[in-house]
Amino acid sequence: MTAFFETPFFGVALTILAYWAMVKLQQKLKNQLANPLLLSIVVVSAVLIIFKIPYSAYDMGGTIINMFLGPATACLAVSIYTKRQLLKKNWLPVVVGCTVGSLTSMTSIYVMCKLFKLDDTLTMALLPKSVTTPIAVSISGAHGGIVPVTVVAVIITGVLGSIFAPLLIKIFNVKEPFAQGLAIGASSHAVGTSKAIELGEAQGAMSGLAIGVCGVITVLFSLFIS
């Protein structure tokens, strides 16, 4: 029976099918909680567990999809490049905001990991979790963090940010659309940005810009972790 699954076609087909179905589901539900990436991970994992399919069989296809992670991350350059005018015009508040935001994120996570006595592989996995998945995963992997935990933490953060963004704007009384967008992008990356776009054009653009800038700044900070 296992031989049936021992081919890369199985993993690739299952992953595409799960993702397609979950994207359709979100389009129907229009709810941030129905995050297609999170649900696809749950669905694929459930299929493997229920049908007792060995992870190694799934990973024959998984490895092929993984190969595209690097190129996909590199393509973030295109989205940063297309926003270069926006960055040029507002570079000072954007760089200050993203630097303070990234530093706050990493410091608060580090302190809490120590408080909860989590080990180094978990701490490293969580440290970059406020930036976009491709960059967070690269940092976590390069420093020995547990990559799948990073993926889960990044999604939880994004979903939390997109749900609570309107509430946080009220609590902290953030009036400037500019600051609203950057704060959303810095704290909850691409998933938050989809919410920022709903709040307004300026918020959406700044949130999108914050994804790239915070990503690069977080990589630079991570150089100091050994």
Partner: protein, 120 residues
Amino acid sequence: MKILVQFGIIFGVCWVGYAISAALPFSFPSSVISMLLLLLLLLFGVLKVDHIRAKSNFLLSNMAFFFIPAGVNIINYFDILKSSFVQIFIICVISTLLTFAATAYSIRFTLYLMNRRRAK
């Protein structure tokens, strides 16, 4: 053929990024080096967005898909996730709150300083 060439350009950049990362004495993610390389090539006009548009649109618009296998790997770390999930969740909530507030307030402060300087 056009898409194939675009694939070639991006995979080529990633290959150079990997080589640089392997040569560095400290650990720096190779995909981020590739991203910075690609950004430099675009900024200096060596590459035009048109040269890689189709392929980069494909990768960027399906970004989440490529992370599914990395996430499914969590089934091998189920015990760790189960024993630390509450802590991980608390960390996500509090750090998201703090990051949001710190970013918003630091921008407000910067804008305030900039306006004051302009007023003088």
